[in-house]
Every structure is written in C-alpha cells, then in structure tokens.
C-alpha cells in the first residue's frame, strides 16, 4: 500500500508499469466490492452487453476500456441502475454490490445510488451556487443543519482539490460559471460529499483539456484511499496511469453486442495480455 501512495506522477510508461506490479501483488489480498456473474444488459430486444464475469476490488481503481459502442458505458451505468428510467431496459445474470444483488426486486434504486455515486462525461453542475451544488446530495439525505452542511461542503471541496479556487465565492458564484475542469471537480466534490462507497466515472476527462484532465487523474488517484472507483475511458494512457485493474471490452461483430475480452491487473493487461484482440487494441492496431 505504501508504494501505491508514494507513486509520483508524470513518469514514463515503463516505470509506471514496473511500479504497478508491486501494487497488483499487494492487491491480491483485497476483497471485491462489485462482482458480476454472467451479467448481461438489454435495451428491449437489443442486447448491449453479453455475459460479463469480473470483479472490482474494494478501494481500487478499475478501468473499463474499449472502442466506441462496445457497451462499456452501459456496463458502468448498470452498476447503479441509471437505466431504470429507460423503457424496456433490463439486466440478466448477477451483479453484486458486497452481498447485495443490485437487480433484486427488493433493492430501491434511489437508496442504491446513495451508495454508488456517479460522475458524468460532460460536467453537469446544477444552476445553483457552488455551495448548493456540493450540498445537494446532503440535502437529499435530509441534512439541514447549517454547520454540518458547511463542514461537509468544505471537506468535499478540499478533497476534490477545488477549495482554494472557489472558497471566496461559494455563495456568490454559480457552479455553471466555473471552467470546464473546475466544473468536473465540482461534480466530483458533489459526488463524494455524501460519502458513497463506490464512484462511477463515465469518461470524466473526455470533455476537458490535457491539464484539467491531469488534475482529475491526480484526484482519482488520491480518492481511491476511501472509495472504490470504476472509470470508463477511451484513453488507454489514462487507464494505465490511474487504474489498478483494467477490463477490456469489444463489440462482437456477428452478434452486435459488447462482451468482455479480458480483465486483470492493469500492468499485466498492458504488458502481457492473454488475448490477441487485447494486444491489438492496446498496441493501437485497431479501434
């Protein structure tokens, strides 16, 4: 664990891989936060994801990579049942969060989302002040006490590395008035304010410039001390930089659904992929 925390940023790909090996050796003992067993997902008659069996370990970053249309966003969003509002969307197989089957009829999706927070592709702050944006999830939980709110908001903004930039205009500035990168960090602050157990990130840097992306990556790196993070990304370098585990998905050309090709510790997947298709993808031969 010590190695993981002292890792410096901005080093070469090879160095990273070398250091990651140590992390993966450490992480053998960790338990799984999320487990999928023959999990699939349909939109009506259309099957988007087929037969995924994998695990996402506690307090680790798991990256899902793959070309566009391979079902990685669908898989991510199925973890906190964001598809519930979509007509005809349904799951098959088992998706477990700790011991709970997420798609059990008895599970309330609203309560589930309080345990599994989400950060979206485009920063989507509310038309509210910076303070109210972060306090939103807390108010949903019924927290009304001013002191508690202020404390939790400050704490979340600090953890999202945004506090120093916005502390003077918490109430006077709209969340939507911030820059793109700041907005995304605000959205992360908003998500961690309620202390979820898992944070899902759907390509959180794809709408940001490289510097803002790096800040978000640093943040993800720090946040995994407390949260289990699942991140979908197009960017393989990003997956290599931030994640401990990686899953590679691909669309089956005949059946038109997304399937899991392989998953494993990031260093292993990037250096010694088991599958030829993974190797082709990470070496940039297609996708």
């Amino acid at each position: 664990m010590e190695h993981a925390m002292t890792l410096t940023r901005g080093i070469g790909f090879g160095d990273l891989v070398a250091q990651r090996t140590k992390i993966s050796q450490l992480s053998v003992a960790t338990e799984n936060k999320i487990e999928m067993l023959h999990f699939g997902f349909h939109y009506g008659a259309f099957k988007a994801v087929h037969d995924v069996t994998m695990a996402m370990p506690t307090n680790r970053v798991t990256a899902i990579i793959g070309p566009s249309g391979c079902g990685k966003s669908t898989l991510l969003r199925s973890i906190n049942r964001m598809h519930d509002a979509t007509e005809g969307a349904h799951a098959e197989g088992i998706l477990r969060l700790d011991a709970m089957n997420v798609y059990d009829a008895a599970v309330d999706s609203v309560l589930l989302r309080r345990r599994v927070g989400m950060v979206f592709q485009r920063p989507n702050p509310f038309q509210l002040s910076i303070f109210e944006n972060v306090a939103y999830g807390l108010r949903v939980l019924g927290i009304r006490h001013r002191g508690t709110l202020a404390e939790r908001v400050e704490q979340s903004l600090r953890r999202a590395a945004l506090w120093d930039e916005v502390k003077d205009r918490l109430h006077s500035s709209f969340g939507t008035a911030l820059s793109g990168g700041q907005q995304q960090r605000l959205c992360i602050a908003r998500t961690i304010a309620t202390n979820p157990e898992v944070i899902l990130m759907d390509e959180p840097c794809s709408a940001l410039d490289p510097i803002a992306s790096l800040k978000i990556e640093d943040l993800i790196y720090d946040l995994r001390e407390q949260f289990t993070i699942v991140i979908v990304t197009h960017n393989m370098q990003q997956a290599a930089r931030v994640s401990d585990f990686t899953a590679f998905m691909l669309m089956n050309r005949e059946k038109r659904y997304g399937e899991l090709i392989e998953s494993g510790p990031t260093d292993q997947l990037f250096t010694k992929p088991h599958d030829k298709r993974t190797e082709d993808y990470i070496s940039g031969q297609f996708g």
Binding site: M82, A85, R113, G117, N124, Q127, L128, E132
Partner: protein, 326 residues
C-alpha cells in the same frame, strides 16, 4: 457559366430575402396599427381622474369649483342631479353643451382593480393545476394518458372563450343565482390551464437530460430533482407561459359578460358582480355618448399597459430570484 450561376444565386437570394422581409412587415402591420390607434384615440381619455376615479354619469354641468359650487338640489327638477343643460334667458337649450357632446367624466379605477382581482384569482386556480399537469406530462409520463391529456389541452386552448363562459354560467352562476367575480375567475382559469400546462411541459422538456441524471446519480427521487433542479432551470420559460395566460385571461370579454356582469363602483366582494376593463371597453363602445366612446379606447389602452407592466414586473422579479444564490 460560373458567373451566370453566381449571379442567379445572388439574385434568388435577394428576392427570397426581400419577400421574407415583406411578409414580416405585413405580419406586424396589424399590431402597430392597433397599438397606434388605441394610443392616439385613447390618449384623449387620459387624465389623472381616469385612473383615480370610478364611473361618473355623463353630464354637461360644469364641475363644481370653489367659487362656483354645485347648485343646490331642486326637488322640482327631475334632472337636477345629473344633466341639466344650461338654459339661456329665452329658455333655449344650448346645443353646444348638451349631454351628447360633453367631455368624458370619471375614470376606470373600478375596472383596473376588477381586472387585477378576477384575472389574479383565475391565475391562482390555474397555476397549481397547470404547473403540476405540465410536470406530470414531462417528468412522470404514462404515454397513453399523457397523449389524451395533451390532446384535450390543445383542443381547450383552441376553443372559443364564450364556451368557458357558458359552462360556468350554467354550472356556477345559475346554481348560485348570483353573478360573481369568482365565477369569472373560474371561467378564465379554464382558458389559462391549457396554456400553463403546455408551456410548462415544453419548457421542462428543454432542460437537458444530464441535469436529471446528475440528480438521479446523487440518489434524489424524481419529485425532489424536479422541484430543486429541473423546475428552477425551466423557470424563465414557465414565467413567460404564465404571463401569456394572465394576458389571455385579462383580455377576455365574452366569459365575463356571462359571469361577473360588471359594476359601476369599486366592489371588492368576490362573490358579487365586479367591474373589469374589457367589460368597460365593451359597454363604452356601445354607449351613445361620445365621451364614453373615447373612454372605451382609454380602457383598452389601460388594459394593454396593465398586461405590459405585469410582464415587466414579473420578469424583473424572476431574474432577481435567479441571479442570487440561496
């Protein structure tokens, strides 16, 4: 070849542009003509007393002043109170100062207050129903039910206003055996509800799905995210719809004739007949007295200004509410 094509393209562009501009001009001619005409003629009725006074019967007698007090009441004179035309020594009536061409007297304060009350109460009925119906259609829709409701709304907003008047006349006025302001408000509410419902629905649908997703991702139930995120984002548009509904209600005449009847005095009892600006316009237009005809234009002008003023006030208020954080 190239030059020819280019010229033709330029020419077609100019012709089409000219035609569009012409059509636009034609479309706003009626608006400008109406506003101009109402302004020109209505201006003749404008005076301080027009806004501060209520109905005064037409009279040729001069307004009493300090040095010329009103003449003492003469019980033998049946016209003493109202309209005794000055008679010269020979006993002839002076036609230049007869009742028929006397200057306008009195004002429309009762109409202003009446219209604000009736349309205001109508809006109170229509707002909660319209906004919640709009929320249902946009956020919780059950497609078949929603299609039916949407269709009914469109039919209702296209139907003649007198239908709403007759309905309330039969259901409320005849049952209570009493014309009343609140009956008028109900008739206006029937006309306002479809406008508020449809605008609310359309404006809510314009709020990006990502806003709802963000709230959903934070574990907010649909009703909570609708009230705290979606509705505030759509508020300016909804306010426009509400103002449109208010303007429609304030300008309606037909349903009011059948429900509030009208009044010559300031009456604030909503269970009794009340005055309203469109009713005054209607009645003064039919009046044989030229002074009252002028006042009809004046009342129309005041009605227009009232709607405009309400519009500006509400817009300023909502912009302020939107610009500050809680």
């Amino acid at each position: 070849m190239r030059t020819f094509n280019y010229r033709r393209r330029k020419l077609t562009d100019q012709v089409m542009r000219g035609l569009s501009a012409l059509a636009t001009g034609c479309a706003i001619i009626p608006l400008i003509a109406i506003i101009g005409y109402v302004l020109t003629i209505g201006a003749g009725a404008m005076s301080w007393s027009f806004f501060s006074d209520v109905y005064q019967p037409p009279s040729s007698a001069p307004e009493p002043t300090a040095d010329k007090p009103a003449p003492a009441y003469d019980p033998n004179d049946p016209f003493a109170d109202i309209s005794v035309a000055p008679i010269d020594a020979a006993g002839n009536v002076d036609p230049t100062v007869s009742v028929y061409n006397a200057a306008p007297r009195g004002g429309v304060l009762h109409g202003i207050l009446g219209t604000l009350t009736i349309a205001g109460i109508g809006l109170l009925f229509a707002l909660p129903i319209g906004i919640f119906a709009g929320i249902y259609l946009s956020e919780f829709r059950n497609e078949r039910y929603a299609t039916i409701v949407r269709f009914c709304c469109d039919v209702l907003s296209g139907s003649p206003s007198i239908v709403a008047g007759v309905t309330i006349y039969v259901l409320v006025v005849l049952q209570a055996k009493q014309f009343s302001a609140v009956a008028g408000s109900m008739a206006l509410a029937i006309l306002m509800i479809p406008i508020v419902t449809r605008t609310t629905e359309e404006m809510l649908k314009l709020v990006p799905e990502t806003m709802r997703e963000a709230a959903r991702g934070l574990g907010a139930p649909v009703w909570y995210s609708t009230l705290t995120v979606v509705l505030p984002a759509a508020l300016p548009g909804i306010v426009t719809g509400v103002m449109l509904a208010f303007a429609r209600g304030a300008g309606e005449t037909a349903p009011l004739i059948l429900t509030v009847l009208g009044s010559n005095v300031i009456s604030m009892d909503i269970f009794k007949p009340m005055a309203a600006l469109p009713l005054l316009t209607y009645r003064y237009t039919e009046s044989p007295y030229p002074g009252e005809n002028t006042q009809a234009w004046g009342a129309a002008f005041v009605l227009m200004m009232l709607v405009l003023l309400m519009n500006i006030l509400v817009r300023v208020a909502t912009r302020k509410a939107g610009g500050n954080s809680r």
